[in-house]
C-alpha cells in the first residue's frame, strides 16, 4: 500500500538496525522514552525491540490520551450520562476505561445510559441536530492532535446556534507533561530512572510544530527527536537520538519531515486559540496536578461548555489500590513490575487505564509482548 509499505520495509529496517548496532557505544546505555502510545504500539506491533542492541532501551511514556485522564473526570462523564441523562458522545477507547468502583461508560450504556461511540466530532454535531429535545455532550479528550477538531465542532455549534450541544473539555498539552516527567523526583534522581532522550509525538507536532520542545531540550539537556509512527520512523528517530547522545548534543530534531515543520499548522493553532485557553492546573493520572497542562473553553463559548452548563461534582476519586499505572505513566516502573499485571488486570478486565487503550503500555506489553516474559515457574515460551 503506497505511503505505508515504504515505512515498513524489512530491508531498510535491517539497514537501520545495523547502523544502530554500529553506533550504539558498548559500555553505555541509551534510555529513550517514547512519549506517545502510538510509538509504544508500533514498537510492539512490529517487534522493533527485537532489532535493537541490548543497550538500547525504550521507556514507555504517558502519551496515551485514555491513560492519562484521571478517574474523577471519567466519573464526571458517567455523571453527565446517568444523572443529567445527556446523550454522551465519546471516542471508542474511552468507553472501557474503569471509573470509580470499576464502572465504565460501556457498563453505563449496558445499564441504559445513552452513550454513543463516535468517529469524529462531526458525528456528535449530527447527533445533536437529530435529537433537538436532548442535551448532547461531547466528551472531548486527547492531546494537541484531537484539539482542533473539538474547536471546529464548538465553532460550528455556535454558528448554527445549537442550544443542545456542549463539550466536556479534557484536552491536555504534551510539552507540559514532558517537563513534569523530567522534573519528577524519580527522573531528577537519575539513579532511579534514567531517561536520556525523548521521541516526540509526530501527530502532536503536526499541529504545534517542533519549536515548543526547544526550550525543554536546552534547559533539561536532553535530545528530543520528533518521530513518525511507522516502525521505520521509530528506528530512524532512535538512531538520530543515539547520534545526539554520542555527540553530547541536546537538540530538537525532526525525523518526521514529511509532515512536521518547526512552526506547525498555524490555522489549527489559530482555531484552538480562538476557542480554548490554558487551565491554571489540571490533574493527570500518574502525574498529579500539572500547571498549565490543559485547556478549557473560553468565556465567549461558555454556552457550549458542559462544565458550566451542568453541575458536575468535584473530582475526588482515587486510583485502584495496588495499581501501578501512575508509576508506569512516568516511566518509573515497567508494566511487569505491577503486581496486578496479568493477575486480575488484563485487557479483558482492566483495572488500570494503561491496560485499557491499545496504546497503553500495559495493554501493549500484554497483547504483543507477554510471551517474552517468563511465565511463573517456567521459561518464556518464545
Amino acid at each position: 500500500m503506497k505511503y505505508v509499505d515504504e515505512f515498513r520495509a524489512r530491508d531498510l529496517a535491517e539497514g537501520l538496525a545495523g547502523a544502530i548496532r554500529r553506533e550504539a557505544a558498548p559500555g553505555r546505555s541509551y534510555n529513550i522514552m517514547e512519549f506517545c502510545g502510538g510509538h509504544t504500539h508500533a514498537i510492539f506491533r512490529y517487534g522493533v525491540q527485537d532489532l535493537m542492541p541490548s543497550n538500547v532501551h525504550y521507556i514507555h511514556g504517558p502519551g496515551c490520551p485514555v491513560c492519562v485522564l484521571p478517574i474523577g473526570r471519567i466519573d464526571n462523564a458517567l455523571e453527565l450520562a446517568e444523572r443529567h441523562k445527556v446523550i454522551l458522545c465519546t471516542y471508542g477507547d474511552m468507553m472501557r476505561v474503569p471509573a470509580s468502583g470499576r464502572r465504565s461508560l460501556l457498563k453505563a450504556k449496558a445499564d441504559g445510559a445513552d452513550v454513543h461511540m463516535i468517529y469524529s466530532t462531526q458525528d456528535a454535531l449530527r447527533i445533536a441536530a437529530e435529537n433537538p429535545t436532548r442535551q448532547v455532550v461531547l466528551f472531548a479528550i486527547g492531546f494537541e492532535t484531537t484539539t482542533p477538531p473539538t474547536a471546529i465542532a464548538l465553532k460550528a455549534a455556535a454558528d448554527r446556534g445549537l442550544t443542545n450541544f456542549s463539550v466536556f473539555c479534557n484536552h491536555v498539552l504534551t510539552p507540559a507533561a514532558i517537563k513534569e516527567i523530567v522534573e519528577s523526583p524519580e527522573v531528577r534522581d537519575s539513579a532511579r530512572v534514567a531517561i536520556d532522550a525523548f521521541l516526540g509525538p509526530s501527530h502532536v507536532s503536526s499541529v504545534i510544530g517542533s519549536a515548543p520542545y526547544e526550550p525543554f531540550a536546552k534547559v533539561y539537556r536532553r535530545p528530543v527527536v520528533i518521530a513518525g509512527f511507522e516502525p521505520l520512523d521509530v528506528m530512524q528517530a532512535t538512531l538520530m537520538a543515539i547520534r545526539q547522545l554520542n555527540d553530547g548534543r541536546h537538540e530538537v530534531e525532526n525525523q518526521y519531515v514529511r509532515v512536521v515543520t518547526r512552526e506547525g499548522n498555524r490555522k489549527a493553532q489559530g482555531v484552538v486559540d480562538e476557542v480554548f485557553e490554558l487551565r491554571p492546573s489540571f490533574a493527570w493520572r500518574g502525574l498529579g496536578e500539572v500547571a498549565d497542562s490543559a485547556l478549557r473553553i473560553r468565556a465567549e463559548f461558555a454556552a457550549f461548555d458542559a462544565e458550566r452548563r451542568f453541575e458536575i461534582s468535584p473530582s475526588t476519586a482515587r486510583e485502584p489500590k495496588s495499581c501501578e499505572c501512575p508509576s508506569i505513566l512516568r516511566g518509573a516502573k515497567k508494566p511487569t513490575d505491577c503486581k496486578l499485571f496479568g493477575n486480575g488486570c488484563t485487557p479483558d478486565n482492566p483495572i488500570g487505564s494503561c491496560m485499557v487503550s491499545s496504546e497503553g503500555a500495559c495493554a501493549a506489553y500484554w497483547t504483543y509482548g507477554r510471551f517474552r516474559q517468563p511465565a511463573s515457574g517456567s521459561e518464556a515460551a518464545a
Binding site: 517487534g47 471508542g92 468517529y119 504483543y368 511465565a375 518464545a382
Partner: protein, 349 residues
C-alpha cells in the same frame, strides 16, 4: 396497522404493509404469512408437507448438526444481507466439520412494524442462497416481538450434514509441524459492515465475502482427507480463530505476516481506523490445518476452486504449552497475536 392491512402477495406481486403482532399469533395471519412468503420462496416437498417438523430418511455415516443466530446491522450491506448470511453461516459451520450439508431450518424473530417488502427481500435472498448451495430450508418458525424489542429481523438457522468416511476434522487435532492455510484475503465482511454501519465513506466500496464454502470443502476433503482442522474465521477474525484452535489442540502457532492475504481496500480502511485486519470478521473464508507432506496438494486444490483462488500458506503449528499464536512481522520482528479483547475500537488519534 393490523394484520388485515398487510397485503399478501399473489402471483408474484411484492408484499406491502408491515409486520404486525398478529403475524406471530399462530392464527390466520401467521398461516397467511407462511404461505405467501416462506412457502412461496423456500418451496420444497418437505416444507410443503406443512408439518411441525421435516421427516426424512437419515443418511449413512456420522451426522453433524449446528445452529447459528444471525443479528446484523444494517440488514443489507455490500455483498450480502442477513438472509444470505444466515444460510451461508450455518452451511459453513456444517462444512467446517468436513461434512456435506443436507438440510436447514430457519427461525425468524420479526419486529412489529418491520416492512413486509423488506422481509420479502430477505427471504428471497435466503431462498436464492439456499438454492444456489443446494441445501433446502425444510422447516422453520416465526415469532413477532413488539416494536423496539428487536432490530427488524433476527434469523436463527440450524443445519444438518453428513461427514464422509475417512474424514476426521476437529479443532483439537492440530499437531506441531502442521501447516496453516487460509482460503483468501481476510477482513472483507467486517469492513463492509463497518463502512455501512458507521456511515464511513471509503473511496472503494468493500463487499462482504459472504459465501457457502461446502463445495470448496468437499473438494478439499476428497483430495486431502488428511486435513486435521477446518474453521471459518467469523467473529474475532483470523487471530481469534487461531487462538481457539491453539487452545483446543494445546499447541502454538507461528504466522508469517507477509503471507497473510489482505485486500488493499481492507488494509487501507484498517489503517485509517487503527483496526487490525487479523481481528476483522469474515463470512466466506476458511482456515485449514494439515500435515506438512500434503500441504502443497491442499493449496493447489483450494486455489483451483473459485472460492479459494486467493489461498495461501500463512504459518505452521509449533509445540508450545502456553498455546500462544505468534507472528513474524513484515518488519522482521516478532509479536504475539492475542485473542480479541472485547471489541476492536477505533483509536483516538
Amino acid at each position: 396497522m393490523t394484520a388485515h392491512d398487510a397485503r399478501f402477495s399473489a402471483a408474484g406481486a411484492p408484499l406491502t404493509g408491515a409486520v404486525d403482532m398478529t403475524h406471530g399469533s399462530g392464527g390466520r395471519a401467521t398461516a397467511e404469512l407462511v404461505r405467501s412468503l416462506f412457502l412461496k420462496h423456500f418451496d420444497n416437498p418437505l416444507l410443503r408437507a406443512g408439518n411441525d417438523g421435516a421427516c426424512f430418511q437419515p443418511p449413512a455415516g456420522r451426522l453433524v448438526m449446528s445452529t447459528d443466530a444471525h443479528v446484523v446491522s444494517p440488514l443489507f450491506f455490500p455483498g450480502g444481507d442477513i438472509g444470505a448470511l444466515a444460510v451461508h453461516g450455518t452451511i459453513n459451520d456444517i462444512a467446517m466439520a468436513g461434512a456435506r450439508p443436507l438440510y436447514l431450518s430457519a427461525a425468524f424473530i420479526l419486529e412489529q412494524g418491520f416492512p413486509l417488502a423488506e422481509l420479502e427481500r430477505v427471504v428471497v435472498s435466503m431462498a436464492a442462497a439456499a438454492s444456489a448451495a443446494g441445501v433446502p430450508i425444510v422447516t422453520g418458525d416465526t415469532k413477532v416481538v413488539e416494536r423496539g424489542k428487536g432490530d427488524g429481523v433476527f434469523i436463527t438457522t440450524t443445519g444438518i450434514g453428513v461427514v464422509p468416511d475417512g474424514v476426521e476434522v476437529s479443532g483439537d487435532r492440530a499437531r506441531p509441524g502442521d501447516v496453516i492455510l487460509v482460503s483468501g484475503p481476510i477482513g472483507d465482511h467486517g469492513v463492509a459492515i463497518l463502512s455501512k454501519r458507521e456511515n464511513l465513506a471509503f473511496e472503494v466500496e468493500i463487499c462482504s465475502d459472504s459465501a457457502a464454502l461446502h463445495r470448496l470443502v468437499a473438494s478439499m476433503v476428497e483430495a486431502v482427507p488428511e486435513i486435521r482442522v477446518l474453521r471459518d474465521p467469523t467473529r474475532g477474525g483470523l487471530a481469534t480463530t487461531l487462538n481457539e484452535i491453539a487452545q483446543q489442540s494445546r499447541v502454538g502457532m507461528r504466522l508469517e505476516e507477509a503471507a497473510i492475504p489482505v485486500n488493499e481496500g481492507v488494509r487501507a480502511a484498517c489503517e485509517l481506523l487503527g483496526l487490525d485486519p487479523l481481528y476483522i470478521a469474515n463470512e466466506g473464508k476458511l482456515i485449514a490445518i494439515c500435515p506438512p507432506d500434503v500441504a502443497a496438494r491442499l493449496l493447489a486444490v483450494m486455489r483451483a476452486h473459485p472460492l479459494g483462488l486467493g489461498s495461501a500458506v500463512i504459518g505452521e503449528v509449533v509445540g508450545d504449552p502456553n498455546a500462544f499464536v505468534q507472528m513474524r512481522t513484515v518488519f522482521g520482528g516478532s509479536r504475539i497475536v492475542d485473542w480479541l479483547n472485547g471489541e476492536q475500537l477505533p483509536r483516538i488519534c
